[in-house]
């Protein structure tokens, strides 16, 4: 447990001095290299064991010549070998080759008996069954979260006397007393002032309502942060940066466990209901990945293999976004673009299946009562005009500016939280932010309503049937059609709504900076969309009034005929939402697809793309990273960015360890170290692996062995194997070295040796080395010079080097 501390102290590998290579005569060394095979066989005095040609289910990384391996029949796989420590990176190559071995074995065995055939068929199907289960579970949990969040949000304002479990909308669903002017009021729904002091009018009632609102908000926030603190500290935050890192090969034990799942689900509802400026989309992705991880334990194929498990997690992330937005295709693209690291084609199809199943399950649960998956699905199809591209691009610029501003300020605030006293009082911080949010939010009706409802109202195109304040236009026409309304002058309601919305915009911009990153589950899709939607609607109404009052201008005259529906403010709100979301997260394709799945049509693709691209370019000009990458860098996770090019001309020997003045590289020899020597090496150093060489003089590479596997194997051997003592020789060769009589028995550890470690020469350009690390998912790479082992480059070294080249702080990379 907690060996990440050891990883933190990892000083990298020590340097073999250049002297050792210059001392021995180069001719002799060069001659030795082609003779490696000969060298090996000369030590084979002991004849090989007969007949033991069992197929090797070993943990080697796809070794050369694996066909004829003799296995000691006393050997069996030791539990724990091949697993990883917490906060370490997995070895993708090893995991993938293990899976291929397993698959080969099953296929070969399937010809033997019917049971084996059934086993092989079920193994092939297990992936699909797992996707089905993930979809079902994610959909059900999303339905639970949606329904509970709706109810608890309205609990701050009152209770339904018809049935305590109904929220405001459902309470008045069947009521006979709903009027056209006030679609929300009905006698079955009682606000707190009505319950406590029997009246709803007057200053005192207002104060009572205010007080109860703030009280409930504080209670929910307090419960949320206490539950997170006591049961599952990993449940706080958004989850997407950590999931990105996990999917790239990092291990965080417990991050996707069952307690984290339960606590995240429960506290997400509490956090959303407390009126804080946060969303639930990011945490839903975390919830879906937890479901994926937990369900993986039912299937052997995924439980034991970390690489296969990450394929499943990619698909689960797609299912999470799919239920959050009701956009299955957008979910798959989000998983592909934002979250996943390796995304083979097979995963694409399976992710789509999981996303569809999840969306279907959510639809069956029907959380919003109208067979829609998301609260703000819009269905208008009014056309847009070419000159409107100018305001759309303006919205894109706004989105980019806001994105860059938000990222910079939020990271600064999170850094403050990390380094100063502020971080020592998480509960108090949450309570204070909630109190400020609630106190500021209640007076303004647009901040009082939940953010999803706000977005839904802003996306809505005003028709004759709407009677909200935002739709208070003066109807000076006499057509009888309900939908196709011409542009109308704004009434008083619209003007008051405008300045209220402007205040809302300012408040949301400021408060989200302090909310995202607190120790409760928090997402930022919905707040960004809200900011963008408000800005868009303001601009849209402005344009609409401009077109009405100045319809004789050239622009409007040529495109808008008088009395036609020219400008749709709802569309501006949508474009603004897309622009802001793109500016913060730097999503491109997935954003456009999610937005067009939300609107149900291809008509608005061009405005959405124009705004998304503009916002991305503007935001990229101001800051390189999206919010999730910025958080990854803040936390120091070992995430090797797959999208950026490495453009410097450094060589492998500039980066490798040991450096010039460091002590020699710590190696193990293939057959001349005793158990005690190895144990000393392990306890004196903290490296996560050791290269194995033929001998210290020759430094010719045999393979690479991991620290964890060594520890477990030696411990197991001391317990189980007779006669293994501290002076027993450990050998990694095929057969035991010749030993004089009356020496303690030797210990063979060949099965934990990786016989095919990746090597580069010291003059390899770092561009190629970084590319190799990215494409193959390596943890470490050995550096050779003229065929001799010279040093090692680990992933952490690569990350530090990249950070150094980009003039960032190389010490901020914490993990290995």
């Amino acid at each position: 447990m907690a060996t990440w501390q050891g990883a933190m102290d990892n000083r990298g590998f020590q340097q073999g001095s250049f002297n050792s290579f210059q001392n021995s005569s180069s001719d002799e060394d060069l001659m030795d290299i082609p003779g490696t095979a000969m060298d090996f066989s000369m030590r084979d005095d002991v004849p090989p064991l007969d007949g033991e040609t069992e197929e090797d289910k070993s943990y080697n990384g796809g070794g050369i010549g694996s066909s004829n391996r003799m296995m000691d029949f006393l050997e069996e796989p030791i539990p724990g070998v091949g697993t990883y420590d917490d906060f370490n990176t997995i070895d993708w190559v090893r995991e993938k080759s293990r899976d291929r071995d397993r698959h080969r074995e099953i296929t070969n065995k399937s010809k033997e008996s019917t049971w084996a055939l059934i086993h092989s068929v079920s193994d092939a199907f297990s992936g699909w069954l797992l996707m089905l289960l993930i979809g079902l579970l994610s959909g059900s949990l999303a339905g639970l979260i949606d329904i509970s969040a709706h109810w608890m949000t309205d609990l701050k304002e009152g209770i339904c006397t018809r049935g305590l479990w109904f929220n405001h909308e459902h309470c008045c669903w069947n009521s006979e007393h709903v009027t056209f002017e006030d679609k929300d009021k009905c006698p079955e729904w009682n606000s707190w002032s009505q319950l406590l002091i029997n009246t709803d009018e007057g200053a005192f009632a207002y104060i009572v309502n205010y007080f109860m609102y703030v009280l409930w908000a504080l209670l929910f926030a307090f419960l949320a942060v206490s539950l997170v603190r006591v049961f599952a500290p990993y449940a706080c935050g958004s989850g997407i940066p950590e999931i990105k890192t996990i999917l790239s090969g990092f291990i965080i034990r417990g991050y996707l466990g069952k307690w984290t799942l339960i606590i995240k689900t429960i506290t997400l509802v509490l956090a959303v209901s407390s009126g804080l400026s946060l969303g639930k989309e990011g945490p839903l992705v975390h919830v879906a990945c937890c479901c994926g991880n937990i369900l993986c334990h039912c299937f052997n194929k995924y439980r034991k293999n970390e690489a296969k498990r990450r394929e499943v997690l990619s698909a689960a992330a797609a299912a999470g976004v799919s239920v959050a937005f009701g956009a299955p295709i957008g979910g798959v693209l989000f998983s592909l673009e934002e979250v996943s690291y390796y995304f083979p084609l097979k995963t694409l199809w399976r992710s789509f299946f999981a996303a569809l199943v999840a969306a279907f399950t959510l639809r069956s649960i029907n959380p919003f009562g109208n067979s829609r998956l998301v609260l703000f699905y819009v269905e208008f199809h009014t056309p847009w005009h070419l000159f409107e591209l100018v305001p759309f691009i303006l919205l894109g610029i706004f989105g980019g500016l806001w994105g860059a501003l938000f990222i910079r300020t939020n990271i600064a605030w999170c850094r403050k939280r990390k380094t100063t006293q502020l971080g020592k009082y998480p509960v108090i911080e949450v309570l204070i932010v909630t109190a400020i949010t609630a106190i500021l939010a209640f007076p303004n009706e647009y901040t009082r309503m939940s953010t999803s409802e706000l977005i839904s109202e802003l996306f809505n195109d005003c028709g004759l049937l709407d009677s909200s304040k935002l739709c208070d236009y003066e109807n000076r026409f006499n057509t009888s059609k309900g939908d196709e309304l011409p542009d109308r002058p704004a009434g008083a309601g619209v003007y008051s709504a405008m300045w209220q919305l402007a205040l809302t915009l300012v408040m949301k911009i400021v408060i989200t900076i302090f909310t995202f990153g607190m120790k409760i589950p928090s997402g930022l899709f919905i707040p960004s969309m809200a900011v963008g939607a408000i800005a868009g609607r303001l601009l849209g109404v402005g344009m609409e009034q401009l077109a009405y009052y100045h319809h004789d201008w050239a622009i409007f005259n040529s495109w808008c005929s008088q009395g036609a529906d020219c400008i749709t403010p709802g569309l501006y709100a949508m474009v603004g939402a897309a622009a802001c979301l793109g500016g913060v997260t730097r999503m491109t394709v997935s954003l456009v697809v999610i937005m067009f799945e939300l609107t149900g049509g291809l008509e608005y693709i061009v405005p959405l793309m124009a705004a998304a691209m503009t916002s991305k370019w503007v935001a990229d000009a101001l800051g390189r990273e999206g919010i999730y990458d910025a958080h990854i860098r803040l936390n120091g996770y070992p995430f090797l960015e797959a999208k950026e090019e490495f453009a410097h001309k450094t060589l492998a020997m500039d980066v490798m360890k040991p450096r010039r003045n460091d002590p020699l590289l710590t190696v193990l020899t293939q057959d001349s170290m005793t158990v005690e020597d190895v144990e000393t090496v392990i306890s004196e150093t903290t490296y996560s692996g050791f290269p194995v060489v033929v001998s210290r003089e020759s430094q010719r590479l045999v393979g690479f062995v991991l620290r964890r596997d060594l520890i477990i194997s030696i411990e197991n051997a001391r317990k189980k194997q007779d006669g293994v003592v501290s002076t027993s020789i450990i050998y990694f060769t095929e057969h035991s070295p010749p030993m004089p009589p009356y020496t303690p028995p030797t210990l063979k550890l060949r099965n934990i040796l990786d016989l095919s470690p990746f090597t580069v020469t010291d003059l390899t350009p770092m561009e190629i080395v970084v590319d190799i690390f990215r494409k193959l998912g390596l943890r470490q790479c050995l550096v050779t010079h003229n065929g001799r082992l010279l040093g090692i480059i680990t992933k952490k070294d690569v990350l530090k080097h990249i950070a150094q080249m980009a003039n960032q702080d190389p010490d901020s990379i914490l993990f290995n």
């Binding site: 447990m1 907690a2 060996t3 501390q5 050891g6 102290d9 796989p77 539990p79 724990g80 697993t83 069954l129 289960l133 639970l144 329904i147 509970s148 049935g163 479990w165 109904f166 459902h170 669903w173 069947n174 009521s175 006979e176 056209f180 002017e181 419960l223 206490s226 539950l227 006591v230 049961f231 500290p233 990993y234 706080c236 935050g237 950590e242 965080i252 034990r253 417990g254 339960i262 606590i263 429960i266 509802v269 369900l295 039912c298 299937f299 399950t361 069956s364 990390k418 971080g423 998480p426 004759l464 049937l465 009677s467 309900g482 120790k519 936390n635 120091g636 520890i711 477990i712 411990e715």
Partner: protein
């Protein structure tokens, strides 16, 4: 390699999960079928027309009858005006499942209540009980700063997990201790050292 018992256990849990998933689907379908008459409505919104103010009409009616003529009663206008009035009205058929809502809220509140009780027990009651039982405070040892100083102790841990435990109660106690240690580690990483999730 998994022992036969392990394999059977996993098969059993897989089957039970599939059964659970199917039963969720069935429940959803059943709740659809057993529709309360209260859970179906046809909602017609009619905007202001001439002298009549706007009005909203609700009626419990089948989907094919969901239009202005069936729902709007009493009709506020007469004769030829009815058609003009009805053209402006928008009628929508909606259904919901109040059973689903009720069940979901009850499930959520019960889980929340259980967690709150457990939290109160862990933070307040258990230390008091332990102090009474053992005389002096013998709360969880913070032995977890072992790190890599004793690498072989770690291996012991890994190997010990694979041995089977005889007593069920011991197993539960052991699992709970391990879980508490894990949570403490997590709490340290997140809240104290701020290395993850800052």
């Amino acid at each position: 390699m998994a022992t036969p018992w392990g394999g059977l256990l996993r098969l059993g849990s897989l089957l039970s999960l599939s059964c659970l998933a199917l039963s969720v689907l069935l429940l959803v379908q059943l709740s659809d079928a057993a529709k309360n008459c209260e859970d179906v409505r046809c909602k017609c919104i009619c905007p202001p027309y001439k002298d009549n103010p706007g009005h909203i009409y609700n009626k419990n009616i089948t989907q094919k009858d969901c239009d202005c003529l069936h729902v709007v009663e009493p009709m506020p206008v007469r004769g030829p005006d009815v058609e003009a009035y009805c053209l402006r009205c928008e009628c929508k058929y909606e259904e919901r499942s109040s059973v689903t809502i009720k069940v979901t809220i009850i499930i959520y509140l019960s889980i929340l209540g259980l967690l709150l009780l457990y939290m109160v027990y862990l933070t307040l009651v258990e230390p008091i009980l332990k102090r009474r039982l053992f005389g002096h405070s013998q709360l969880i040892q913070s032995d977890d700063d072992v790190g890599d100083h004793q690498p072989f102790a770690n291996a012991h841990d890994v190997l010990a997990r694979s041995r089977s435990r005889a007593n069920v109660l011991n197993k539960v106690e052991y699992a709970q201790q391990r879980w508490k240690l894990q949570v403490q580690e997590q709490r340290k990483s997140v809240f104290d050292r701020h290395v993850v999730l800052s």
